[in-house]
Structure formats: C-alpha cells, structure tokens
Subunit: 248 residues, 2 copies
DNA sequence: ATGCTACTGTTGTCAGACAACCAGATGACC
DNA sequence: GGTCATCTGGTTGTCTGACAACAGTAGCAT
C-alpha cells in the first residue's frame, strides 16, 4: 500500500479554470484582451459550454476577467496593491507603541534602501536628490521639514521598485506622521537635529547613487537609529515633564 | 432629471447568491447545516437549476459553503482571521506580484531573525527548535510540511518581540500560503528541497540561539533566496511546460 | 446625413436527460 | 447473528439543444 490519500477528484470546471488562469497569469492573454467565445472554448477543451461557463464565472469571481453580456469575456488588470489594505489595516490597526512601529519601519526602509541601490533609475536618483535638497531648504527656512522628509522617504520606497513594499511603507509613514504630530507635537525637530538629518539623507542618496546596497542599508540604519534616539529622548522628556514615568 | 445611471442589470445567479448569502450570514442556516437541494432551491426561487448552480459555486468560491458531490451543499464555518478575498489569492498567480510579495516577506523575515537573535527568550528558543523538528518530521513522513514551516516562521516572528512586526508577518505569511496553494498546488514541495529547507531552518535557529544577529540575518536570507529560486522554477514550469493537452 | 430595421455574434437562461456519487436499506451467505 | 455485496433513492456533475437578452454593424428608407 503506497500512499492511499483520497483520490484527486476534480470538477471539470475547476480544471478548465486552472488552465485558463495559467494562460492569463503567464501573460498569454493580456489585460484588455478578449478571451475566445464560450463556444470556441468548449470545442477547444472538449467539454460542454456549461463547464466553460462555470470556469469563467469562477475567474470572474476571482477578479481575473470581466464577462460582458453580448460581448465576451475580457481579461482584467489586477493589482495586488489595491487589495493590501485589509492586510495592513489588521496588522497596524491594533494598539501599538511608536517604538515598535518605528522598528518595523526601520526594517522596511533598510531593505528598501538596499533594493534602491540596486534598481534605482536615473529618474529615481533625480527625485532623491531633489527631495534631499527640499528638506534642507525647508529646515533652513525654519520650517519643520516634515514634507521634505516624507518626500525623501517616499522616493526611496519608490526607487526600490517593489509596489507592495512601496504601498506598505507609505501606510506606515502615514501612520507615524499622524502619531508623531498627535503625541509629540513638533519637538522632534530641532535645528541641530535637522542639520544632521539632512546630512544623513545625503549619505543615503549618495550610497544609492553609487549602487552600493550595503552602504545604503548602513546609512539608512544610521539615520533611523538617530530618529529612534531622538524619539526616546522626547518621550522621556514628555514623561518626566508632566509626571513621573513608570517604565521599567 | 433624476439619476440616469445605467440601469441596474443583474444576473439571476447574482441575485440568488445575495439572497442565499443573507440567509447564511443572518444565521438562518448555521455552519454545518445542509442547504436545500438545487432542485428545491430552483423551485423556491422560481429559476432554473442552472442559475442556482452558478450562485452556489459563487458562494463556494467565496468560502461560505462547501458543495459535496452526491450529498449536498453545506454551510462552512468561516473564520474571519484567515479570510482572504479570492482576488488577492488569484493576484499571486502573476509572477511579478508573487515575487514582489516574497521580497517584502524576505525583508521582514530577515529583520525579524536579526531581532530574534537579540531578544529571543528561552521559551522562544524551545519553540523554534520544536518547530524545526516538527517540519523535519512532517516531511520525512511524506507530508508537505506546510504546517511545520508556517510554525517555524511564526516562531521567529514572535521571537522578534515586536507585536506590530509579528502581526504583519503573520498576515503576509497567510497570504502567501493561501496564494501559493491556490495557484501552484503543492509542487513547491519536493523531497530534496524539503531536506535542504530543514537544514536551513536549523541554521537559522542555531544562529538565533547563538545570539548572533548578523549570522541569523544571513541564514534567513540564504533560506528565502532558496525559496525564491524554487518559486521561480515552479512558475516557469507552470507557464511553459505542463500542458498535456491540445493544439493540433 | 439621419434614424429605423434587420441581422449576426455573443452571453444569459431554460428544460430535460443521463452519469457519477453517497448513504441507507435489503438480502444472501457464512 | 454478523458480514458483505447489491439495490435503491436522492443529490450533484455534465451534456445537449434551444431560445431570450444584449451589443454591434450594415443596409435601407426617409
């Protein structure tokens, strides 16, 4: 007695569906293309039109195609980033500390910097430089530089060339932006620190431009460690300033 | 003029599906209950059996019911935690999407391994070892080891000691697990590969136990690079090779 | 040119039939 | 009495053929 697992017994429509899905996800049919008619598919697969219809409606339920009455079935474009929100919402939705969130952000940013060093296009490099300059200008003008900072980090996320990563980082950055503004106000941004941040930005952009993933990661980690230390100090001040902290 | 949007024109099966869904989610039919037969539903709704069938298969695709040949349709117990829209699963059929998600997962797992090496408790170490042994036992028994693998990676996520990171990783692992099952079946798991994976798991656990974050990160990256290569090969086979059928 | 009509091709729905399958009942055999 | 094969009824899976609903187009009459 070899393996005596329950015998694979699949419905015809499921088999058809898998085959069609393979054709679609392999690019044989591009978004916007029209699939053959149900009749043609039925003949090609050697099954009845009914099985084809079940397979097609399955694909439609999965969002891969759109069936239009009287016209035909058309391949849809499906972007996973459009459907990531349930994931991020449930992961980032429940109570968390700013430190934990920053740690996750650091992991992602370090990875993104690494990838950016390998993949950034000329366009990305230009945007990185512009964003870094933007931040420097804003802070030297006495502003908080919050926009420039965000722009810089978004540019890195984009330069990493991974849409999922970009989406995830954007969510976290939004969340932190809100959290910071709400809990700590602007006291994270002091002139001395701003100058240092600008230099760190430059170092990161430089490493990415040099195509050195190790250096880029290291520079990013240096940067975010600085952010973390500043955050720690601010939280400490806030705690001692108002009332005695109790953290162990 | 009133609203003159395109008239609502719904397929019969969709209407039926909505009604049935209401009945189920309202508790009129409890998990485990058997729905009326297709024939009975057809008479009750006043439509043909075919429309009923399409509605039922839609509900099955959504995971609300389970259709058993020769028995009937049964309401499934739906766990909100592991519920994913079929769309997200099907999106992973696209190679670039699957690779992008795996890349994000790699970044997170590498960071988690690093943190775990610094923070893991005795309890965490025990769970890591147990999970690694679990995986090895499962694969040697001829199973896919999917449970053991998941358990191992969950243990790392947990050992990193960052709730946000843990939650995020769990979500992404679920997503990949289900997406892979949906699109590629089990052919990711071969005996030779399983042996290698088990060794890689050991190496990771070893590095974490040794409190060496650099080694832990490196071991994890080695592991996930292997996963990536296997994934690439599988997707390639699926796209090119294995059509046993047609074209004359 | 404009608007109506008819036509063609496609998907949506229907009806009936049979095959595949499951569960329980029946009956034969030891 | 217990065990097993077989029968039977009910259910889902698939096939076939037909017609309705819909979209697009060509042709026609005005």
């Amino acid at each position: 007695m070899q393996d005596l697992r329950p015998i694979e017994r699949k419905k015809l429509s499921e088999t058809v569906m898998q085959q069609l899905q393979t054709l679609i996800s392999s690019g044989r049919y591009q978004p916007g293309d029209r699939l053959p008619t149900e009749k043609a598919l039925a003949e090609a697969f050697g099954v009845s039109r009914m099985s084809i219809r079940e397979a097609l409606s399955g694909l439609a339920a999965a969002g891969l195609i759109e069936i239009r009455h009287g016209e035909g079935s058309f391949v849809k474009r499906v972007e996973i980033t459009d459907y990531l929100s349930p994931i991020t919402a449930s992961a980032l939705g429940f109570p968390h500390t700013a430190l934990a969130l920053l740690e996750v952000r650091s992991i992602l940013e370090a990875g993104a910097a690494e990838l950016a060093a390998l993949r950034a296009t000329a366009e990305d490099h230009a945007e990185l430089a512009a964003a870094a300059a933007d931040y420097r200008a804003q802070t030297e003008r006495g502003e908080t530089g919050i926009d420039g900072d965000l722009r810089f980090h978004r540019a890195i996320a984009r330069a990493a060339g991974n849409p999922v990563l970009t989406e995830l980082m954007n969510r976290i950055q939004d969340l932190m932006e809100q959290g910071m503004a709400y809990t700590l106000g602007q006291n994270l941004k002091t002139p001395e620190r701003s100058q240092q941040v600008a230099a760190e930005h430059d170092a990161i952009a430089e490493a990415i431009r040099g195509g050195d993933p190790v250096a880029a990661r290291a520079a990013m980690i240096r940067h975010l460690t600085g952010v973390r230390n500043k955050l720690l100090r601010s939280m400490n001040e806030a705690a001692t300033g108002k009332e005695k902290t109790q953290d162990a």
